[in-house]
């Protein structure tokens, strides 16, 4: 119990402090600061529709964040969640549109698998380049984001484009591929419960399996892991692919459950935010569920705040920045301990 408290008191304190500082900002710019904050924090619970939207926004954060946690724990810094998300979404849309005659249970299944595979592939090559040639994976995964974004733009304005639609979106996927909703919440897809389940599973794999123990060892000291006979490189590369698969899956679930088509630039920056979410949770899969729900709340609430008051939604970026800043206070202290032994 005290262990849990020491684990969360840092992030919880940072979060509270960021909200307080953010309030000072709102005080300075807004005529009605209280209303702004009320919208930001509570509008997501005002109606079933708002709540559903909120849950939908949390899903990609959890899945991409889980991927981030996995890859970082394995010692590779996959910052390409955004690109892998797009790769998964476009693959899902392509399968859905390309194989409309597949029977009902098979079509979404095939689409989901395609999205995971596409995301995995998009994370695999930077991992392989890193392990074989020493190419910095931060650079390659980051570049991969741009390539994926532009390539999907190209596809969605070309072959996959819905000629009847106004914007650059793909044709609608057959309804037989759509995900069911959470019972009682018609607009919330089952994407979120799936993501939560996977996060719990991710925790088990990382902290309760032999494979996870080897992976974390490889991530913290690759040469040590090799010396004790862990197939470290192979495991790390698998983790990288898995990390991409989770982001790709987020894209797939988004298309099947929320958009029902691929929309150009559909992500409001889930990839980057998931990075913050995962780091805030100290790369812990269970903590990540909580931080994702908090961030999705801010992300969603900001939209209502912008509508109802004079505070722009970019306040979220201010809050995110503050949080990152406040969270980095801790590692400095840790460094001093590391030098001592």
């Amino acid at each position: 119990m005290t262990g849990l408290w020491t684990a969360i008191r840092g992030p919880a304190g940072a979060l509270l402090a960021a909200l307080l500082l953010g309030f000072l900002v709102v005080l300075a710019v807004s005529d009605d600061p209280l209303l702004s904050y009320r919208q930001l924090l509570f509008a997501s619970f005002a109606s079933g529709a708002n709540f559903a939207l909120y849950l939908n926004r949390a899903m990609p954060l959890i899945l991409i964040g889980l991927g981030v946690a996995l890859s970082f724990r394995a010692g590779l810094f996959n910052v390409g969640g955004e690109g892998q998300l797009y790769a998964g979404a476009i693959a899902c849309a392509a399968v859905g549109i390309g194989l409309p005659h597949l029977p009902a249970p098979l079509l979404p299944l095939a689409a989901v698998i395609a999205s995971a595979l596409a995301g995995a592939a998009w994370a695999w090559w930077p991992g392989a380049l890193k392990l074989w040639l020493g190419v910095d994976e931060v650079v390659t995964t980051l570049m991969g984001n741009f390539v994926a974004l532009l390539a999907t733009n190209f596809l969605v304005t070309g072959v996959l484009r819905d000629p009847a639609a106004y914007g650059a979106t793909s044709r609608l996927l057959p309804a037989s591929s759509w995900l069911p909703a959470i019972p009682g919440l018609p607009n919330a897809t089952i994407g979120l419960p799936v993501a939560v389940l996977l996060a719990v599973l991710g925790w088990v794999v990382l902290f309760r399996t032999v494979w996870g123990a080897g992976l974390r060892a490889a991530g913290s000291n690759l040469r040590f892991a090799e010396a004790v006979g862990i197939r470290a490189r192979r495991d790390v590369l698998s983790a990288m692919a898995l990390s991409g698969a989770l982001a790709g899956l987020a894209g797939g679930l988004y298309v099947l459950g929320i958009g029902h088509r691929f929309e150009q630039n559909f992500s409001p920056g889930f990839g980057l935010m998931a990075l913050t979410v995962a780091l805030l949770a100290r790369l812990h899969p269970l903590g990540l569920i909580a931080t994702s729900l908090i961030f999705a709340l801010l992300l969603n609430g900001a939209a209502y705040m912008q509508i109802a008051t004079d505070v722009p939604r970019s306040l979220v970026d201010v809050l995110t920045g503050l949080l990152v800043l406040l969270m980095t206070v801790e590692p400095g202290r840790r460094f001093r301990r590391a030098v001592t032994s």
Partner: protein
């Protein structure tokens, strides 16, 4: 005369661990003060307090008569205190000069690093202490001995070095490098610096110091002038009992086949230089083959090649009757290989992971700590606690990060894990590096016991005394070649020493 440094009633705990119970220490001006004590006694912690890395919970520090506070490393530097840490702290990709002034570079226009001035000042220091370093060379290209000197250069790059702390500076040095270092220490002392010298090699402590303090369980329990002190006296004070180094008995009767054999094993560096040159040797079950030699003559490559971590270009490696030349490290371990690497922080453990995970890693299957790939935390922690007890590993329980343990206790983690595998072949490199004599005696006994259980042991060590007291046969590595293998009965320190320095059988 007023002492240079007085520590009075210092106390320090980390959470529940008491690192320093109560320590008093007085160091004279221009003297070398040896600090000895078991692993985890609190030596490094005490020195880190002086260097501003840790804050003491209690007590006072008096330097040249003035009471001081040392809240951070910068404050320590301003007071003229330099420290060389137990483990290397240099940045490998930076040059010696850059490392020397890391974080306090001379500035031009208050902003840009004045590279020229930095080089000149580093070169001047290097000149003054006669270190013979190339200050423009990246640290990655230096030998271990040179790195150690670069560390000292960094510690001395103060305006007025009053106190220099050396935390086990000779642990990784060759005998010649160590002698060289002792010479430097004496020069510094004659120049007026007070040197605090931590070592587990009591011979060195006696050779170089003017005074000695022994610390046990976080208390200073013996202060005396070094003149007239014996190794045995210090050892008894440290450990609290007589230390009897175990000796290998009569050579075993070798009946069974198996063990390890190498035939013409050659390892070539990318440039084409031979790191190992046609090594042929064999170790039978129950036998201990010692490999002596000055560090850097192929020891690391030999260990890595046998462990399966370095590909060999020619030759054959047989393990327990099977050709494993191309087998992975994992496959070799599955065939009964245990490996205690030379550098615990490099290949031996992961400092960030808890002790229990470091102990259990690679043993989950063999020790039945997991079922269908799922770890049983109960079984794992029980297993870890059992090893901690059996190997007397101190410094917190199974749950603390391994990196917070003292250097010697980290080494014991590696030894414990590898012996717990009950290996058929134990590959051991520098097993007692940085561990105290009591623990060293313990590790030696463990190795002898393992040999008694028919384990074949390949013992690579640059401590000649270690090889001489444990091995049945002794080979010498010189320039990547194995020069002669001598039976212990015929091996004397002089003879092996001659082989080590000439590279010819004697």
């Amino acid at each position: 005369m007023q002492p240079r440094l007085q520590l009075r009633d210092i106390g320090k705990r980390f959470g529940a661990t008491v690192a320093i119970e109560r320590i008093d220490l007085t160091v004279a001006v221009a003297s070398v003060h040896a600090v000895c004590g078991e692993n985890g006694a609190g030596k490094s912690t005490l020195m880190n307090i002086l260097a501003g890395v840790h804050l003491p919970d209690r007590g006072e520090i008096v330097i040249d008569g003035a009471r001081v506070a040392i809240p951070d490393p910068a404050a320590a530097r301003r007071l003229g205190i330099g420290m060389v840490h137990q483990h290397f702290t240099l940045v490998p990709s930076m040059t010696v000069a850059e490392n020397t002034f890391l974080g306090r570079q001379p500035r031009r226009f208050g902003l840009l690093t004045d590279v020229a001035a930095m080089r000149v000042r580093a070169a001047a220091l290097n000149e003054r202490y006669g270190f013979g370093l190339d200050v423009r060379a990246p640290v990655a290209t230096l030998s271990v001995g040179q790195r150690q000197r670069a560390e000292i250069l960094k510690a001395l790059a103060l305006d007025s070095p009053r106190i220099l702390i050396l935390d086990e500076p000779t642990a990784v040095l060759t005998p010649r490098e160590a002698d060289e270092l002792l010479r430097v220490v004496r020069t510094l002392r004659d120049g007026g610096t007070s040197v605090l010298f931590i070592t587990h090699k009591l011979r060195e402590a006696i050779a170089v110091s003017d005074n000695v303090t022994v610390i046990r369980d976080g208390r200073s329990i013996l202060h005396r002038p070094t003149a007239g002190a014996s190794e045995a006296e210090i050892a008894v004070a440290m450990v609290g009992r007589d230390v009897v180094p175990p000796q290998r008995g009569a050579p075993p009767v070798l009946t069974t086949r198996g063990g390890l054999s190498l035939h013409d094993v050659t390892v070539t560096a990318p440039g084409g230089r031979r790191r190992l040159d046609s090594i042929t040797l064999s170790v039978r079950p129950g036998e201990i083959l010692g490999i002596a030699g000055v560090d850097g003559n192929g020891q690391s490559e030999l260990a890595e090649a046998v462990a399966g971590l370095l590909p060999v270009q020619a030759g054959r490696i047989m393990l327990d009757g099977r050709d494993v030349t191309r087998a992975s490290a994992r496959a070799r371990r599955d065939r009964g290989l245990g490996f205690i690497p030379e550098d615990r922080l490099d290949r031996g453990l992961s400092p960030g992971l808890p002790v229990a995970e470091n102990l259990a890693l690679s043993l989950y299957r063999a020790a039945r700590l997991a079922r269908f790939g799922v770890v049983s935390l109960r079984a794992r922690d029980r297993f870890a606690r059992d090893l901690l007890r059996r190997f007397d590993i101190r410094g917190g329980g199974a749950g603390v990060p391994a990196g917070t343990l003292s250097g010697g206790n980290m080494q014991k983690i590696v030894v414990a894990r590898e012996l717990a595998r009950r290996p058929k072949l134990l590959l051991v490199a520098q097993p007692t590096r940085g561990i105290d004599i009591g623990a060293g005696e313990f590790v030696h006994r463990q190795l002898l016991d393992a040999a008694g259980r028919d384990c074949a042991i390949l013992l690579i060590s640059s401590e000649l005394s270690e090889v001489l007291s444990l091995a049945d046969r002794i080979g010498v590595l010189f320039g990547g070649r194995l020069v002669g293998v001598v039976d212990r009965a015929a091996a004397t320190e002089a003879r092996i020493g001659a082989m080590m320095s000439t590279g010819r059988p004697a």
